[in-house]
Symmetry: C2
C-alpha cells in the first residue's frame, strides 16, 4: 500500500502543491494558486498612499489561501485517501518576514495596523532596508565579529535583522506591538500546527544564527541600537529545529480545512532553494546544485565549515541534513536574456524568425548555436542586476565589448548567456581556491529545460559534466521528501528519501574538450575585466551610478 506526502512551494507570485508517492517520487497531482495581492510595491491594498521606493510587501492571507485551495485540489485530483497522506511540508521564498502579535496573527490582519506599511510582510526582494544593512555591516567589521565571515563578509539588506531594524527605526510604536518576527515559512507552518518553531536553515542563512554559537551577542545588538539589546528573547521567539525534523501535526481545524487526516505530520518549513538539492539527487559533499531561473542560486554540499569570501553563507544542516550547505548566487541570469529579448530584437530578426517558422527565443537559440566559440568577438560581464557572488556588490553593472557594425542580435544573445557561465566559473573557482571542493554539478529550474545551448555552454565553460533535475517542480518535490522523513510510515532519513524519490535525467551534458580550450582563453579575458571593474582598479560603474542622481 503506497504512502504519500504533499509538498507546497511558496514562490514570489504563487504557491504550488504537489502530491507525491514516497515510494518513487512520482507526482500524482499538482495545483497552483496565484496570490491575489501578488507583490505590493505601489500602495497597500485599500489605500491610495504611495509606498516609498524599493518596497516589496505581501499579504499573508494569500499564503493561507494557497493552502486552502491547492491541497483540497490535489486530494481531489489524485483521489487518494486522506489516511494515506502521511506528511506535509512547505518551502518558501526567504528572507520573507511576517510581524505577528501575541496570538501569532499578522499585524496586517489587525484593523488598527492595516494601513501601516510596516505591519505587512516584507518580501525577500524588499530592498528598502539597505541603510540598516550598511550600519549592521559596518559595526560587524568594526567589532571584528567572526560570524560576518560566514556570510562572505556581508549581510544583505534582504535579510532578517536589516528588515527588523527598518521597523524599529522608522516606526518604534508599531515595533512595540510586534510580539515576534517570523519567517513566512515558519509562520505558515505554525498556522497548521498551532505551534511556533523556527527552522535553523533560514535562521542560519538570514539571521546570523549558528548551530553551536547561536546569535550575535547582546552586546553587539545593544551597540547597534540600545533598544535591540534583548531582541532575541523579545522578538525572535520559538524553538529552533533543523529541516528534516517534525514541526507538529495538523490541528483538527486545519485537518478539516485541508481535507487531510489529523495524523498528518508537518515537517519544519524550509527555503525554496535549500529544499531542492535532495530532489535533484544530491547526497554527497562536493555536489552543487544550480537553481537557474530569473536569477541563479547555488547550493553546494560540504563536509566542513569553511569561510569563503563572497559566498552568501554556510549553514550546518542548511540543506541536506548531515552536511554543511554553502549558498552563492547570481542576481540576474534569465532576467538578462529576457531584458534583451523583450526590448532589443528588431524587426529584421523577428521577420527572419517568422520565415523560419520559429518563435523569437527558438530562432535566437538556433542562430546562436551555429556560432563557433569566439566567432562574435563579444565578451560581456553579467552584472545587469549587480553582482551577488562573489563581489557582493549591488552597484556594479553590465558591460559588453567587441561590438562592431556587423554584430548581430543572436551574437549578443549568446554573449549574454556566456557571460553568466563565466560568472558561474568565477564562483566555482573561488570555492576551490578556498579549499571547498566541487566534484559534481546539477541544475534545476526553468531555464535549463528551455535552453539546450545554455547547458552546453555551461559544461564547456566550467569543464564539467552537468546533470539535470528531472522534475518541473523540484522544490515542491523536495518539500514532499522532507515531509516523508518526519512521517511515521515514511523514510528513515533524507538519504533514503533521496535514493527512492529524487528525479534526475539519464542524459547529461558533457564538456567538449575542444570547446573547453577555446572558452578557457575567453574566460581568462573575462577574469581580467571582472577584477578590473569589480575589485577597485576602475570603479567607473559605481561612479556612474552615483551620477544618476
Amino acid at each position: 500500500m503506497s504512502k504519500y506526502t504533499i509538498g507546497i512551494n511558496f514562490g514570489t507570485l504563487s504557491g504550488r502543491a504537489v502530491l507525491v508517492d514516497i515510494s518513487d517520487g512520482s507526482v500524482k497531482a499538482s495545483s497552483v494558486h496565484a496570490y491575489k495581492n501578488a507583490v505590493i510595491t505601489d500602495h497597500l491594498p485599500g489605500d491610495d498612499a504611495p509606498l516609498p521606493h524599493d518596497y516589496a510587501l505581501q499579504d499573508p492571507n494569500d499564503y493561507l489561501e494557497v493552502l486552502k485551495r491547492t491541497i483540497p485540489a490535489v486530494m481531489k485530483e489524485s483521489a487518494i485517501q486522506k489516511q494515506d497522506v502521511i506528511g506535509l511540508s512547505i518551502d518558501f521564498t526567504a528572507c520573507t518576514v511576517v510581524p505577528v502579535d501575541e496570538h501569532n496573527q499578522p499585524l496586517s490582519f489587525n484593523e488598527n495596523h492595516r494601513n501601516n506599511k510596516h505591519a505587512w510582510v516584507k518580501l525577500w526582494k524588499h530592498h528598502a532596508a539597505q541603510k540598516y544593512a550598511d550600519e549592521l555591516n559596518a559595526l560587524a567589521h568594526e567589532e571584528k565579529t567572526d560570524w560576518i565571515n560566514r556570510y562572505g563578509g556581508k549581510i544583505s539588506s534582504e535579510w532578517l535583522f536589516p528588515k527588523i531594524m527598518q521597523v524599529l527605526k522608522e516606526d518604534y510604536e508599531l515595533y512595540q506591538n510586534v510580539d515576534n518576527f517570523l519567517e513566512a515559512t515558519d509562520w505558515v507552518t505554525s498556522q497548521m500546527t498551532d505551534h511556533v518553531v523556527r527552522n535553523s536553515c533560514t535562521l542560519g542563512y538570514k539571521a546570523m544564527y549558528h548551530h553551536e554559537k547561536g546569535f550575535p551577542s547582546k552586546d553587539f545588538f545593544k551597540k547597534l541600537d540600545p533598544r535591540m539589546e534583548n531582541i532575541i528573547d523579545e522578538k525572535i521567539k520559538g524553538d529552533i529545529i533543523d529541516v528534516g525534523q517534525k514541526a507538529g501535526s495538523l490541528t483538527p481545524k486545519w485537518a478539516e480545512i485541508l481535507g487531510l487526516s489529523e495524523n498528518t505530520v508537518v515537517a519544519a518549513g524550509n527555503v525554496d532553494a535549500h529544499v531542492s538539492p535532495p530532489a535533484a539527487g544530491l547526497n554527497k559533499a562536493g555536489q552543487m546544485l544550480m537553481i537557474m531561473g530569473t536569477s541563479t542560486c547555488d547550493i553546494l554540499l560540504g563536509d566542513k565549515e569553511t569561510m569563503v569570501p563572497g559566498m552568501c553563507g554556510v549553514v550546518k544542516n542548511g540543506s541536506v541534513p548531515g552536511f554543511y550547505a554553502y549558498e552563492s548566487g547570481q542576481s540576474a541570469v534569465g532576467d538578462i536574456f529576457a531584458w534583451f529579448v523583450d526590448d532589443y530584437i528588431g524587426e529584421n530578426t523577428r521577420k527572419e524568425a517568422t520565415s523560419a517558422g520559429l518563435d523569437i527565443h527558438a530562432y535566437l537559440e538556433q542562430e546562436a548555436s551555429k556560432l563557433k566559440i569566439g566567432e562574435s568577438g563579444l565578451l560581456a560581464l553579467d552584472w545587469f542586476g549587480g553582482n551577488r557572488s562573489i563581489l557582493v556588490d549591488a552597484d556594479v553593472q553590465g558591460m559588453m565589448l567587441g561590438m562592431n557594425l556587423n554584430t548581430k542580435p543572436y551574437e549578443i544573445y549568446r554573449a549574454l548567456i556566456e557571460s553568466t557561465a563565466f560568472g558561474k566559473r568565477i564562483i566555482i573557482d573561488n570555492y576551490k581556491a578556498h579549499g571547498v571542493p566541487i566534484d559534481e554539478i546539477y541544475v534545476s529550474g526553468g531555464l535549463p529545460n528551455k535552453n539546450k545551448m545554455l547547458l552546453q555552454i555551461y559544461a564547456d565553460v566550467l569543464n564539467i559534466e552537468i546533470k539535470i533535475a528531472d522534475s518541473e517542480h523540484t522544490s515542491a518535490l523536495g518539500a514532499a521528501m522532507f515531509a516523508s522523513v518526519v512521517a511515521k510510515d515514511g523514510h528513515k532519513s533524507i538519504k533514503e528519501a533521496t535514493e527512492k524519490m529524487a528525479k534526475v535525467k539519464e542524459e547529461t551534458v558533457k564538456p567538449n574538450p575542444e570547446n573547453v580550450k577555446k572558452y578557457q582563453k575567453i574566460y581568462d579575458e573575462f577574469k581580467v575585466l571582472h577584477d578590473y571593474f569589480g575589485r577597485g582598479d576602475n570603479d567607473v560603474m559605481k561612479r556612474l551610478k552615483r551620477l544618476k542622481g
Copy 2:
C-alpha cells in the same frame, strides 16, 4: 549680369551636380545620378567568380554617366545660358584609384582586362591591401622616415601606395600594363580637359607627397620592392597643381556632351571633405569643420605644419589655399546609430513610437532628449568601426557599460551619440595638446541637420559653440566655389568666394555651462577607458578579434 559655376560631388553611391550663382552662392538647380554598378563587392559585372573579402571596386563608366546626365539636367532646370556658366569643378571620394593605359583609358574598359579585378577602380573603402600597408609602415619606421609623422605615424590601407602594391604583388603582368595610377577626381577631370594634372591635396593626404619635399625617396621605394624604385616616374604621371588652380578647359567634344561652352574653365579636382570648409565659411587658422555622416571627417585649418600623433595627415593648401589643413576622423558615427536603430529596437519601443505618432528615430530622439546627463548610467566607446583618430587602430571595437535590467533602448541610443562626442573630444584635446589651436567649430553633413539633440551634446561635451553649414550640398557647393576662383570673370580668391558664397546658419548651438560640468565628469571616465582599452593596458578587443578566426 550673374555668373554661374557647377560643382559636382562624386559620393560612394551617386554623383550630384549643383549649379550655383557665384554672387551669393544660391543653388539654382541640382541633379543626382546613382551609379549603375554602385560598389562592387561580390563579383565583377558580367562575371560570376566571387571577389575576395574586403574588396570594394567601382566602374569608372559610372562617373562619366554622372557628368553626362546631371550637367545637362541642371542646365535645363535652371534655363541659364551656357556662356554664363564660367567654371566647373568636381570633388570625389578618396583615395579612389583608377589604373589607366597610355591613352588615359581605364584598364577595365579594355576587353582583355575586363575580367581582371585589379583592372577596376579600387574605391576608398577597398580594405584588401592591409598587409601591404603593414609592410610599408614597418619599413617607414625602420628607416626612420620623417614623412610618416605627417600621417600621425601610420599610412592607411585605404591610401594610394598600398593599393598600388596590391596590384604589383598580386598581378605583376597587369601592373606592367598600367601606364598611370590616377585619383578618380583627377581622372574624371582629365576626361573633360584631355589633360592629366594631379591635385596636390589627394597626393598630400593619400600619396605621402609634400609640397617642398616631394615623395619618399627612390631608395625607400626600392627597399619596399625593387620593382618600385622608379614608381613615381613610371606610374605617377602628370603635372601637380594645387586645389583652386586651373586644370584646363572643356574640350569641344565634352562641351557638346555637357551642353556647356568651350570657354568653361575646369578647376583642379578635389576631395569631398577637403572642398567643404570654404562652403561652410571657414577662412581662418583655428577653425575646424566636422563633416558628419555615416562617419565623421574633420578638417582643421592651421597656419603652420605640426606633427600631431594620430591625425590622418597635414597638407599645405590641402583645403583652403594659404593654410595647412589637418585631417582627422571617426570611422563610424551615423553608422553606429543606424546599426542600433535598424536591428535593436524591439516591438515595445516601436509601439510607443506609433502611439506617439512619431517615426522611430524621432521617438528615440524625443525620449533621449528628456534624459538628464548621466541619468542612464551608461558609457560607451565609439569604436564600432575601429578607431581612425587618434588611435589609428582598425582592430579596437565597441564597448558599453552601465547596463542593468531597467536600461531602455533610448538610453542606449543616447549613450551611443555621447560616445561619438567623447571620441571627438579626444581628437580635439589631442590637437591642442600638440600645439594646434582650435577656436571655432563648424559642422556639415547629413547628421547634424537631422538631429538637434546630437549637436547640443557635442556643444556640451566639447564646451564650444557649434556653427552649422547651411547647405544640403556643402561639398558640391565647395566645388562650385573652387570653380569660381579659376574662371576669368569669377572671384579673385577663395577668400573672396567664401565671403560671397559660403552658407552658414545664423543660429548656432551653444554649450550649457551646467551640462559642460556634468559631461566633464563622464568624459574623464571615457578617457580612462579609452586609454585602458586603446593604448595597450588591456588589448582584449584585439585578442578577441584574433580568436574570431
